[in-house]
Subunit: 434 residues, 2 copies
């Protein structure tokens, strides 16, 4: 008997009809002879409605109470889902984060899982029940308070349960058919990826692909959990996210190879874009050892998440250089303030802030070893008249920064240039994740 | 320093504005130098909305999951209330039923409190925090499952907390000014009762007065908790429900005596009416010992809550008698079915079912010892042309059953006959309780 963990996002349980549909799918999985554990998000807009209420009663809601409030959302969806399954004649039991043994640290709103002790889940499974667990929420042992895991928390819940219960596979149900070579809303001919390594998936997620949260992918990679990202609106095979160092027994047998690319060529997994970042340039930094370290120590103290860093060659005449980096727009002002406070200490000339940038990342294995990839990328952008402002590369990724208003054109020309366009256009549903 | 427990019903926390208003009132109580523990219901229509959802996904929702679902309602209101208080600059912490130590049996949907262990509440109070507790919900130690207390559960939560924490008073905030001598929606000149004994309150609640739930009054009486029923929409003194055998130190000093009644006359507390009951008549019961016991043993096995019982004098010619009793309409069919199954065994002739009855109860101390009360009651009803179908009396109550469509007329004439009419009309808000 296989143990399957399934995660259903808010758009998959948005109303009573959706919940009944999901209940049927879960029962089918059980009937096929599997043990089933389900992590579920709050229904549709519940979280946004609760957030609105919170801000109506308090300008800055206290984090402990915010977590207590938001955790009610999954309580509603999981109880309804369990009822719906019971009414189909199968035993189902719902568990809150704390009942499921989802132990976290005490960081309200962004708690990290420190332990998973699914004793009650194992008992319920042994009694033949389908187990429904509230996604997104946990429990701190010291404060005895309810915590939430932050954005994408339900994905993380599912992966953590899959790891703790040694599940055969973790299915992430969403409103799209899987991971695509590019955002199908921008590139209608984006094609679904059948299989992708967790490393490539990490790069795509970190560079703006929103179907899977980077944190859940990291957790899956670290604990050797195989993911299957698929639609809750049909029975199509989705995208398998696997760990290449592992035995692949847990993955479905009906996988297809990526369509393009001969043996010697790099395997392009996909292209992601991201408009959520801003660029800060520290202008006129003395080109002497230790200055970059000094700057990024100041930045790190603000807790900001730095993405790309580029340092230009210094002009010999002045002995000064510029250092640019990108970071989420929401963290921009905090970093600017921190840097300004230390301007004399560091000795730079000034700061520039630019929140009109777009980032495009091309992800695939063996990229750096093939210079032709960069050349093809830069040529495609050049021919489309798109200016490149920053470049950064990793073993499996090339990222470029352009003007924000050119990013969708950039995505389309790059997608075409690398032969990723599918014959048919993808079907897209709207939706949000939690 | 006094410890005050306050309970706010769903209509008092129906939206963000109401929650902010309640938060201010709680802070005022704290500022006046009191420790404050608050039991709160779900916001306005939340419970009904959750019930609707449950019935959309499952024809007969499983009780365990129903409790999990409904308990989300208080989680939302209590977290919002705590946030609102924090934003006024006071420390507030919300606790679920299980966190508050509200231990119940495992009867989902109608759990009974078996123990209250408010360790975390006491700790929070000692740290100077205002404590907010989810009304209506508890926790079973054996199954480790969440339970709910059933209708009026939040009142019971408040009273149980007041008893366990040895509170000085338990304030029940509602959308009316207190307990009235009759329902102000029917009798506009109903007057507010300033003080009433818990026994009288029990009779009023049991006979249809809906402001306080009988179960909460019973709990308060058994544990010596003084209640103050008052409006959350103004600062008027409400109604004190006290236990006459107790020292009355916990009650406010500004109480007034009931306005009418000389020393020798019975003290009429109020008049309540109830349209929720039906009457079953067992026709042609052999008038031999043990038959009534046999019938009510059958009835008891259905779990029905019998209210009034009347046995007519048997007709000498037949040796047969009729036994009538009233019970909630919702329990009527079950009892009829049970009795029909045993008809041959008991030997009665037939069954009559009547759900068009109304019940009126006149409540006050020392009633039975004063024959004039019954006479005045019956005369008032006779003069209004209202027929009396059943009569039942207790030490502090006289109840009569009439046709349902005459019950409001009955209430008005009785209220006037006993001199309960106030000079001015009461102000009434609409609302529901949980």
């Amino acid at each position: 008997m296989s143990l399957i963990v399934q995660k259903y996002g808010g758009s998959s349980v948005a109303d009573a009809e959706s919940i009944k549909r999901v209940a049927k799918r879960i029962v089918e999985t059980r009937k096929a002879g599997n043990e089933v554990v389900v992590a579920v998000s709050a229904m549709g807009d519940t979280t946004d409605e609760l957030l609105d209420l919170a801000h109506e009663v308090a300008p800055i809601p206290v984090p402990r109470e915010m977590d207590m409030l938001l955790s009610a959302g999954e309580r509603i969806s999981m109880a309804l889902l369990a009822m719906a399954i019971e009414s189909l004649g199968h035993d189902a039991r719902s568990f809150t984060g704390s009942q499921a043994g989802m132990i976290t640290d005490a960081r309200h709103g962004a708690a990290r899982i420190v332990d998973v002790t699914p004793v009650r889940l194992r008992e319920a499974l042994d009694e033949g029940a389908i187990v429904i667990v509230a996604g997104f929420q946990g429990f701190n042992r010291d404060t005895k308070d309810i915590t939430t895991l932050g954005r994408g928390g339900s994905d993380t819940t599912a992966v953590a349960l899959a790891a703790a219960l040694d599940a055969d596979i973790c299915e992430i149900y969403t409103d799209v058919d899987g991971i695509f070579t590019a955002d199908p809303r921008v590139v209608p001919k984006a094609s679904k990826i059948d299989r992708i390594t967790s490393e490539e998936m990490l790069e795509l997620a970190a560079n703006g692909a929103k179907v899977l949260y980077i944190r859940a992918v990291e957790y899956a990679r670290r604990h050797g959990v195989t993911l299957h990202v698929r639609s809750s609106f049909n029975n199509n095979e989705g995208t398998i996210v696997y760990n290449p160092t592992e035995a692949e027994s847990g993955t479905p047998s009906t996988t297809t190879e990526r369509s393009e690319g001969a043996v010697e060529e790099p395997m392009i997994a996909g292209v992601a874009t991201d408009l959520s970042e801003a660029k800060i340039t520290v202008v006129g930094v003395p080109d002497i050892p230790g200055k970059a370290a000094q700057i990024f120590t100041i930045v790190a103290k603000t807790g900001a998440n730095i993405d790309m860093i580029v340092q230009n060659v210094s002009a010999a005449s002045t002995g000064l250089t510029d250092i640019s980096f990108t970071l989420p727009k929401s963290e921009g002002q905090g970093v600017l303030t921190a840097l300004r406070a230390e301007q004399d200490e560091v000795g730079f000339v000034g700061l520039q802030y630019d929140d009109q940038i777009g980032k495009l990342a091309l992800v695939g294995a063996g990229m750096r070893t093939n210079a032709g990839v960069s050349a093809k990328l830069f040529t495609a952008l050049f021919e489309a008249g798109i200016n490149i402002e920053m470049i950064s590369t990793s073993e499996i990724r090339i990222s470029v920064v352009t003007r924000a208003d050119t990013i969708n054109d950039a995505l389309r020309v790059v997608h075409t240039a690398f032969g990723l366009d599918a014959a048919e256009e993808a079907v897209v549903h709207a939706g949000t994740g939690r």
